[in-house]
Structures are given as C-alpha cells and as structure tokens.
Symmetry: C2
Subunit: 339 residues, 2 copies
DNA sequence: TTGAAAGCGCTAACAC
DNA sequence: GTGTTAGCGCTTTCAA
C-alpha cells in the first residue's frame, strides 16, 4: 500500500535529484523528456504518492476544505455537503466536516482549529457571527479563502452564496393571494439568520404591496427545527379568527404544522393551506403532499466550492454575492379558503 | 487570529529552548515549574496554537479521522457521522468525510488518499470490498487503525460494529407471525451487504423455524435506496396470491411499498401490512406510521469512534465484533390479515 | 531538568 | 535542464 516511499527513493531509483522529481510531479519547471520518463517510471514502479502533510507544511496550505455547518443531521444540509464534496473529489480536495449546532462558541473553536491546519478554504453556514471577537466578525479569518453559504452574518464582507430567499417568500405570498386567501400567517425562523429574515421580508412585503395588512399575531416565531413549528402552529390555530393559510418558513416547521392540524382534527388544505420552504424529500411523502419552495442544497454546495476554487487561484477577487433561483413546487397542501 | 506564531517565538519569548516548550505542550518530560509557568505565560500572551501539520509530519500521523460512507444524502448516514463527530470533537480530532456511492473504485481511491494523509483512524461503511486488490481485502490498510461500521466485507478480519441485523429480522418475522399472517414476503437488500444479508437470514430463519415456508417469489430484491422497493413491491402485489405482509428491509424501500400500495388503491395495513428497518425520522410521519426496526445510527457512529480511540492507544487489541441492540417500534402499518 | 540538533517529506530558490 | 540545499514547525533523541 505504497507506504513510506518518499521522493528521495524515487530520485534514487530514477537516478535523478529530488528537485527534478518534485518538478515532474508538480509540472513546475521545464524537465527534459528523458528525466520525466524515468521519474514517471519510478513513481509507477514504487507506487509512490506524495505525502500531502509534508507538502502542506512546506506550502503552508493543505488541500483540505472545511465545511462548517449547523448539523449534518438536519435534512437540508447533507445535500449541501454532498454538492461541495463531489466537486472537491474532482479536484483532489478533502472535506473536513464540522457541526456547530448554531453555537458561536463551537463555531469559533472550529474556525481557529481549521486556520491552524492551514487548509485551502472554508465553506461556512454561519451560526450568527455577529458577536464581537468572533473570527467571522470582520472579513475572512486569517487569510484563508472563506465563503458563507445559505446565510450570512450581518457584517460579513466576503463571498456569499444563498438561495433567493426573498423571492421564495414572494412566491408563497403570491400563491396564497391567487388562491384568494386573506387570512394569511407566517411562522418565521430566527431573525438573526439572514435566510429566515429574507423569506419573511419577501413574503410580508408582497402581501403589503397587494394591500393586505398582516396583523402581529399572524407573525409567529419558530426555531427552524423540528418541533419549532408546533407551538407556533398551536398559537395560530387558537386565535379567535385563525388564519386560513400558513407559510411555515422551512419544511421541518411545515411538517409540524401538518401534525398540529391533524391533532386538532383540522384538514389541510380544506381548513388551512400550508406552504413550506426547502423541498426536502419528505415534502413529497406527506399526505397531502407539501407545497413548498424548492431550493437546491446540492447546487448551493457545489457553487460554493466552485467559487472558493476561483478565489484560491485569485485571492484578490472582489467579494461577490450570488443568489440561486428558487421555485414553487405545487403539491396538495394549498387550496382556496372554504366558505 | 494567532497565525504564524511558532514554537520558536514562544521559546524566545519565554527565554527557554524549543524543546522545553514542546515538552510543556505535550507534558512529555519533567519540566521545572518555573519554566513551565514561563512557557504557559508566553503561549497565552502570544496566542499560540501548535501547528498540527508540522506535528503531523513529524509524528507521521495527523489528528484526523476519515469517515468513508456510501452517501451522506442517504438519510441513515448523517446520524452515524454525527455520532462519531461529537466524540471526535471532544477529543480534538477532525472528521474527513468521503462519499463512495458504494463504488469500490472510489472507495479504494479514498482509502489510498487517506493513508497518504497518515491520519489517526478510519471509520468505514464498506462498499463491498471483496474484490482482489482492494485495500480492504485483507486486514487493515497500511497500519492505520480501521473499523468497519454498519456492515463488513466478507474477508474482513478487523474491528466491526454493526446493529444486530439478524435479530431485527427475527423481530419482524415474529411480529408478522403473532399478527397471524401466513403470506409473508420480504424485499431484501443487496446480498453483498452483510447487514442486508443478516436481516434476511434472521427473518427467513425465524419463519422457517415456525414452520412457515417462504416461496421464492415472496423473496424480492431491492436496491436499498429510494425507488429500489417500488418495482419489487409491484411484482409482489401482482402475484396471483399476493402477500398480506411485507418486510421491506430498510425504511427507504418501505416508503416505496407504501407508495406502491396507494397507487394500486390498496390500504395499509388493512390489505397489506408493512414493516421497515432503520426507524428514520420519516417513519413517524407517513400515514399510517411505519412500524420499523429501530437502530441508532448515532450510537453506531459514536461507538465506532470510541473503539477506534481505544485501538489508537493500543494497536494490538484483538479484533472485536460488536452488535448493537435493535428494537421494534410499533406504529400503524401492521394489523392481522383481513378475511 | 534543560538545551542543541537532527530530521519528518516536501518545495522552491539558487547555482551550475 | 538539472542538482543542491535551506527550511516549513514540530518532536525527540542525545548530551550536558
């Protein structure tokens, strides 16, 4: 298994210097065809693989990318990771996975560790990152190419790739409006997450510009995780004039709403229409199927790494924000309000 | 952000030699209390973090663990990864994530790369690994502590941690039997996966020992992924005497069976009872809820890393196979056959 | 107990 | 075009 064979042995075996071997490996300098052939032969014969740790030490950068995400167990994130990993594999880069649980302390710890590993890049779905002293507070941490995925800290000035959350919110609002709903509520996610905020903004502003005012008690707060939507849904349904349509701003919460509805003997969509956000696989499995905003985590992850790759080659690229398109997937959880 | 401060600067700042600094960092030799204090002071003052790459080069081993899994996008695996990652975090180890798509070629490529990174350990959910020349074919690859999770290659002689798949199969068989079913079918997974094989074995042998013969056309083959169960279910339901109970040997396939049933206007559990395996989150969401065998991916991952940690300390530990307990979770997808 | 120095495997600057 | 060599930051003998 090719362990322990070093560049020095290749050099000896090929009868050349280590410098030349290094050059043919990296294609760095003009190497004569004869030497090139001999080296390649020796590499093949001995089954040599350059030691990436030594290389990393020398070049002050390892061919690894850290993905710092909230929780791989949350069903939206695996596809993001997979999107990045596929492209990483094509480029011979490794993915180091870090779960922060949205804890800025854990996130900061990981960030520091990753910097000390001098890796090639950082793909991060930030927890919040607006606390002082947080490595993300101003600019990229320690000169490592860094990109915020899915959402961004308030003060972040670097690359960002997100879904077009505001547009997603608008899409939902328009769909409710077109279905002739007027009692329309939202369960929004935590405001400090920019994606949650944007969804809410897009949604509410679209309602407003259609002349529909949304009362405060139609704006509920959920935690973006499972069970986050349950209590919010219960409060909404206990209102004296409960909404006929609910936008749960992610699918996990929408699932909760469906459950809460069922628990109350209410029917979706007849009594209450529901729309989610994410288009997780489960959204197709619920009865009724969940109408939801589709965003591709896979594309997000892949685009993120792609941009990072570009920045690794050209560190001085101007920071860029990319918004990925979203679309509404119609399933069975919306219908006009019943008289 | 503590970049670029090296052990040498600590040494100078503390007025001691680099060797002494190293010793206090690693607690390796008896260091005088005076020097110890001065070094710790300097470390705190300058915000020093040892460079893990340099350390890795010197010691021929980096504090990283590779997790080589089929696909993080398959809903069972994230919890396995998370279980390992949590323990890794506690021990200051990093997780490198590799998706093989069950492709032995990709798996072998990753294995080789990981060896060249000289990492501390390998947690692998093997694709198959019985092909000749595959690094897993005989024993651990290149002296790196390696453990097979969830399933094992035929010839693997090292550590293994799996769920008690055979027992899971038996549980399901017994449940069907107790519900007075006699026309009982199974959709098994790919035979080369030991977990799939064991589930099938446990299931069928339990039926047999209860005097129930399972005809060949009641044993269907699925691919263990989504859609893998659909065609199998269709064939089963098209039989002249279709089964009244189906064991889909993972939840993804069980979901397919539910869908196929619905498409035919058949009711679960009244027309056909269904049991899955895994107890994914979705199993609680389907209508009816899916009765399934619970196995904890989180525990599997955590136990895997725990064992690896032990082996890192004591490489000569005798190989061990650990079977984690499973249990049947009763939901609504099973009832006695209707007359 | 402490310091000096070799060397992990590699790249890159320099000399020829 | 090719070889020699310093040195990335650290651990770990070995001497003192």
């Amino acid at each position: 298994m090719s362990v322990n064979v070093t560049i020095k042995e290749i050099a000896k075996h090929a009868g050349v210097s280590v410098g030349s071997v290094s050059h043919v490996i990296n294609g760095s300098a003009g190497v004569g065809p004869d030497i090139k052939a001999r080296v390649e032969r020796a590499i093949a014969d001995l089954g040599y693989t350059p030691n990436p740790v030594a290389r990393g030490l020398r070049q002050q950068r390892t061919r690894m990318i850290a993905m710092i995400i909230p929780d791989i167990t949350n069903p939206y994130f695996p596809s993001v990771v997979r999107g990045a990993e596929d492209l990483a594999f094509e480029h011979g880069l490794q993915i180091v996975l870090c779960n922060t649980d949205n804890d800025p302390v854990k996130e900061a710890a990981y960030l520091r560790t990753m910097v000390s590993y001098s890796l090639s890049g950082l793909l991060i779905i930030p927890s919040v990152g607006d606390e002082q002293n947080h490595p993300l507070h101003d600019g990229r941490p320690s000169g490592i190419p860094t990109l915020c995925l899915d959402r961004k800290p308030m003060h972040w000035g670097g690359d960002v790739i997100v879904s077009d959350n505001a547009e997603g919110g608008r899409l939902v609002a328009r769909h409710f409006l077109q279905s002739r709903h007027t009692r329309i509520a939202i369960i929004r996610g935590p405001d400090q997450f920019s994606n949650a905020f944007d969804r809410q903004q897009g949604f509410l502003s679209e309602l407003t510009s259609s002349g529909l005012h949304t009362p405060d008690d139609y704006i509920e707060q959920g935690a973006f995780d499972i069970d986050g939507g349950r209590r919010a849904a219960q409060r909404l349904l206990s209102l004296s004039t409960p909404p006929t349509a609910i936008f749960a701003s992610n699918d996990l919460m929408a699932l909760d709403v469906l459950t809460a509805l069922e628990a109350r003997g209410l029917s979706c969509p007849n009594d209450v229409s529901v729309v989610g956000f994410d288009n997780l696989d489960v959204a197709a499995i619920t009865r009724p199927g969940l109408t939801t905003v589709d965003q591709s985590g896979y594309t997000l992850g892949r685009a993120g790494l792609s941009r990072l790759l570009a920045r690794m080659d050209a560190p001085d690229l101007a920071p860029e924000t990319l918004q990925l398109p979203v679309r509404l997937v119609h399933r069975g959880s919306v219908c006009p309000p019943q008289p």
